[in-house]
Amino acid sequence: MQEATAASLPEGNNLPTLAGQRGGSARRTKLLLSTFFLGVALIHILPFYWMAISAVRPPERIIADAGNFLPTSFTLQNFQTLLASNPYVQWYINSIILAVSFAALSVTVCTLAGYALALYKFRGREELFFAVLGSQMIPFYLVLVPLFLIIVRTGLINQYIGVILPIVAQPFGLFYMRQYIRGISRELIDAGRVDGASEYNIFGSIVLPLCKPGMSAIFILFSIDMWNSLIWPLIVMREEAKFPLSVGLAGMISTYRSLFGELIAGSLLATVPMILLFLIFQRQFLTGMSVTGVIVEK
């Protein structure tokens, strides 16, 4: 499509594109750039490729064959050992529980609060908003020790709720949902008021349905964050059966058994569903991941 346009343009006609080069050299530039990006893409895929071919090698061949670029053998032995000698499936379930419940809770709480800050004028609104936003500057790790002490004292240690509850109130989520709701037409809301709907009905039946794209964007962002997090769940969870994947896999590294095969198999199984989900929902993913970029533009 692009190519046809470029080729059909007469020599010397500038294209309204970033690279304002001319006809003849254009094709060469294109070829060069396309080849370059093919190379870049291959390098970025390499670790995935290596993970995939290593996972299906017999455990004793993984180190020996590490330098072999081609798939040398195929066995599911690593996956069998992985599932037999670790509560891997349980870790997987735990990761899903943590990611989904954290994201759902956080999105709910942030949307409710974002709604209040976006649409109501009340005393202390600005102060509150800036205080919450200002706390975003403070790194989570400052509160790592105090939070741990709270979790220990309240008996939330080694519980899902202990991992989730302290991080549900995300200033970023609040900020994002506030911006999002401010973008919703006031006329719809005022019309609801004229019809005599209560404030809660207006939220539930007018605002909430319109918020769905914004909510799903931060839902994805937050669930990926939780899926990837290591240190906080590592501190809160004490029992192997309650670990999420990240903590379980990290624990496998520090044991004395030689676990290359199992680790690579476990890593592969942890990665494939995420990539499949991404390929299916790429638009939502990219919106979710770039919401911070969107905010900057506002």
Binding site: L18, G20, S34, S54, V109, I138, L144, L230, I253
Partner: protein
């Protein structure tokens, strides 16, 4: 908001409604953010005998100890090294990639964006495990070196490579994300500006330099800031690569790693809190510089 009569039920009063919506967030925020923040400062000037004992005020003793602690300086040094490495790679390269992919001169640009994005979907733990084995003595990377007749390296055993390897992992994972950020900035540049530049006879490079870069400044500053804040808190990569002892000669010890070690291996909570405060001050200084440059709140009414 329309004023209702005084008979309005409590939860429906205009003065009460916003607080009902705010309540869940606020309660959690006060309990799990505001209180711990204040508590962190208090703990940093205290000593705790055990998890259950009450903190005892010791003044600035923890900070004085920190000043004279070679491990702390080593950790700070490593963290800054990593941060500089991330900024030098993860800003210019994705920016150039984004501009090229946007130019319409790369066939299948969208698929490349997707491919470069996928590494971010591996968790940091998985990514680091993979790199750890690829960089092993008889690993994939050494095999590639061997293929080009270069001598193999002891990547993960030698401390010198610790921070560069962490930068490499960050680069692998984040290139695609930063392309997405820069691309969202590029999309907001009006096409007419490029047309005008082209009419004025500007080459591709010239319009990149004179049109694209100045207009991308806000997003560049934004990406620099989040990269800085993220980098200063690096812990998972060195933890997975080099284990609980942070590698030979603490070569993989970062600020966060040290905080983690002090708190959860040595159970010295007061001292760990002091490290946290120093790290927080560093990060807040960075954020404030960003606000000055960039005015995060400038669009507010």
């Amino acid at each position: 908001m329309t004023l209702r009569s005084a008979k309005t039920p409590f939860l429906h009063r205009p003065s009460v409604v916003p607080w009902v919506f705010l309540a869940p967030f606020l309660l959690l925020f006060l309990t799990f953010s505001l209180y711990p923040i204040l508590n962190a400062f208090y703990l940093s000037v205290s000593q705790m005998e055990s998890i259950t004992s009450l903190p005892q005020f010791v003044g600035l003793a923890n900070y004085a100890k920190l000043w004279n602690d070679p491990s702390f300086w080593k950790a700070l040094n490593n963290t800054l090294l990593y941060t500089v490495g991330v900024l030098l790679t993860l800003i210019p390269i994705p920016l150039i990639y984004a501009a090229l992919l946007q130019s319409g001169w790369v066939k299948g640009a969208h698929s490349y964006r997707l491919i470069l994005f996928t590494p971010l979907l591996t968790s940091l733990v998985v990514a680091t495990i993979v790199f750890r084995y690829m960089l092993g003595p008889e690993g994939f990377i050494n095999a590639i070196l061997n293929f080009f007749s270069l001598p193999p390296q002891r990547w993960v055993e030698v401390g010198t490579y610790a921070m560069p390897i962490c930068v490499l992992i960050a680069f692998w994972r984040w290139t695609g994300m930063n392309i997405v950020y820069f691309q969202s900035g590029l999309n907001n540049i009006p096409k007419e500006l490029f047309e005008a530049a082209a009419l004025d006879g500007a080459s591709g490079l010239q319009s990149f330099y004179f049109v694209t870069l100045p207009l991308l400044k806000p997003i560049v500053i934004f990406v620099v800031t989040i990269s800085l804040i993220g980098s200063l808190q690096v812990i998972v990569e060195p933890y997975i690569l080099y284990g609980a002892m942070a590698g030979p000669g603490e070569s993989a010890l970062t600020m966060m790693f040290y905080l983690y070690m002090v708190a959860f291996q040595r159970l010295n909570f007061g001292y760990a809190a002091a490290i946290g405060v120093v790290l927080a001050i560093l990060i807040m200084a960075v954020s404030l510089v960003q606000f000055r440059f960039f005015g995060f709140f400038s669009q507010e009414d």
